[in-house]
Amino acid sequence: MSQPFILKLQEHCNLRSSVFRRALRMALAMFVGTVIYYYAHLMQGFWVPLTVCIVMQLTTGGTLRKGLQRFVGTILGLLIGFLLVEWIHSLWVIDLLLVVFLTLTYMTKAFNLVNYGIFVVPLSAMVAILVTFFVPHEANSLIVARLYDTTIGAALGVVFTLLIFPTSLKPEIEKNNQHTLQLQQHYLQAILQHLLRHDNSEALLKQSFNQFTTALMENRRLYADWVYEVWFDSERKQTQQKFLKTTEKTGQALFALQELAREGLPDDTASELRDGLVKISEIVSAAAINITELKQAMVDWQQLETQFNPRQNAGLKSLALNLGVYKEINDTSA
């Protein structure tokens, strides 16, 4: 076994590692789930550990989201599957349905990122048909058993996630918010430097674009899970929603500005606006350090806007409009 392989395993072999905590939590839940299914004499009770394995995610929010979506998706899917197998008795048609639903299941796998429940609907219908395929005479009782066992498994998964080494997304969300703001500032600075034609600005622009877009995608991914953690705290949820809304809107303004920066301004206009652009760059750097300084700097910003606005050049109009959006967002955030 290679050295990096062992080093990586060693690095995560402690309770600080979220993966290690998840592995322990799931192993415990799996143990309990299997014991329950044996001692409660559940029919096809292996669905309990199987559901535990699928539902339990790295974080509490993730588990709650997947648990709920899986539960709703399973009920809907089993209902569809149940109706179909009640109505169809030919073995060959069942075979064909199995192929069709399996294909459909993997077609809808792309929805996994948006809503896991959408993927579970055809999956559960497929399972109902699969059960009929293997044991046609016991199908109805097994389908009901699946629903029952899945509910136990999902509940067990949620309980273990909440009680054993619960991992909240809150610190990660807070860290990510800070990180997004920083990257946003870097990105705007890179754009302004490119407008001012600094050396290496193209590479910097590319790098900051990639980092900022990754942060935006990560924000949305985390929020999708986190929203389940704070459903009881509506005020906090609203604050985070507002943050996401503003960073998204600023992002859209910045993407448009980047293109303007790539295209560049006419030389005479650029030199005329140079001082203004440098000032914006300073304001943006100040925002990264201190939000009070930003508020003060916004007064200067308004003067700069009047400098950009009356020009007839469409590029400058775009710059003024985008800076306006950026300012509005920062005002709201402050």
């Binding site: 799996m30 959408i118 935006l216 809304k245 109009k317 409009l321």
Partner: protein, 348 residues
């Protein structure tokens, strides 16, 4: 909601999409495994494992190249078969079974530190540990189960030859899909911000747009990744390398320009003011989407209709002071997009 789902599902019936191809592979291997299963006499009590192994293990076809995918799948089949066999020694005892599954699950999750592919592979291997414990059999049948899982795995390997992964064609396909995703984004933009319910439910519509935007970024990353792999393996000639790099630059440009087009909704205080030019905006987005489809298929596309619409927009801009600046920026952005489109498709 139903319309949205219907369109989302229909767009996936496209032979260029990887999900579609994987779904077809899964359906096909299911059909093959059912035929094999039905061919076994009833005395082969473990023959159903052929179906179970084939349909789930085909999902472990993971990796950037065909060779890597086959290797991962083979290792997963072997591991699943071994676990299926070993489970036979524990499933009579509840505590041993529970310990067995706790250990396999711990290992499966712990190994996920090695990335997404490892996590997926481990998930499917662990699935067989759970299924094997849950579907007990006599000790004398364990070898049969082992062999049936191998047979199912062999069928899964067989369908991997359907649409084998080759880096160079994959790169071209990714480029094509990126352009189509951009066309879908163009449609989505106008459908969302011009929707009559947008002012009341802006958050919902914005959420959909962000989801589309993320999809676009994922595709852009896929193009970059394919290009990186293809050049790393020295599969591209100097000309091909240059044209791909040029494509990526243009693709990034188009991304920024399309976002810029959608920004018109932020440039007006009241988005309903855009009703003044609804038809022109819709038509512009439709024509741009058509242009992107044309580039992706290397077919001819005529920009004269778009030019006429832009002229109308310019005229209307002077009639509406609140919209003027926003519309000028919009028209200017469309013209920049046309320049990029011409660079990508000389037939335009």
């Amino acid at each position: 909601m139903l319309n949205y789902l219907q369109r989302e599902i229909l767009t996936r019936f496209d032979p260029d999409y990887n999900y579609f191809k994987q779904a077809i592979r899964t359906g096909l291997v299911c059909l093959l495994s059912i035929l094999v299963y039905r061919a076994f006499p009833a005395t082969y009590s473990e023959s159903y494992w052929v179906v179970l192994a084939a349909v789930f293990l085909v999902q472990t076809r993971l990796g950037a190249t065909q060779w890597q995918q086959m290797r991962t799948l083979s290792l997963c089949v072997l591991s699943a078969a071994i676990l299926g066999y070993l489970s036979g020694f524990v499933f009579n005892n509840p505590i041993y079974s529970a310990l067995f599954l706790a250990v396999t699950t711990f290992i499966a999750i712990y190994l996920s530190v090695f990335g997404l592919h490892m996590a997926i592979a481990c998930f499917f291997i662990n699935l067989y540990a759970i299924l094997s414990v849950g579907l007990p059999t006599a000790s004398s049948c364990l070898l049969q189960r082992f062999l049936m899982i191998l047979l199912g795995g062999a069928l899964a390997l067989l369908v991997c030859f359907l649409w084998p992964t080759r880096l160079k064609p994959q790169l071209r396909r990714d480029e094509k899909i990126y352009l189509r995703t951009l066309a879908e984004f163009s449609h989505a933009l106008v459908e969302n911000y011009l929707h009559p319910a947008y002012p009341q439910q802006a958050e919902k519509f914005e959420y959909r747009l962000h989801e589309r935007r993320d999809r676009l970024l994922r595709m852009l990353n896929a193009v970059r990744h394919s290009q990186h792999l293809a050049s790393e393996k020295k599969l591209l000639t100097i000309n091909e390398q240059d044209s791909t790099e040029e494509f990526i630059v243009r693709a990034e440009q188009l991304f920024a320009l399309f976002i810029s087009l959608g920004n018109i909704r932020h440039y007006v205080r009241d988005v309903t003011a855009l009703n003044f030019v609804t038809e022109e905006l819709k038509l512009t987005h439709q024509l741009l989407a058509a242009a992107l489809y044309a580039i992706s298929e290397h077919t001819q596309w005529n920009s004269s209709n778009l030019q006429t619409t832009l002229t109308t927009l310019r005229t209307k801009a002077t009639e509406h002071p609140e919209l003027e600046n926003g519309l000028i920026v919009f028209v200017d952005t469309v013209e920049k997009i046309l320049v990029v489109i011409k660079c990508l498709n000389p037939l335009s």
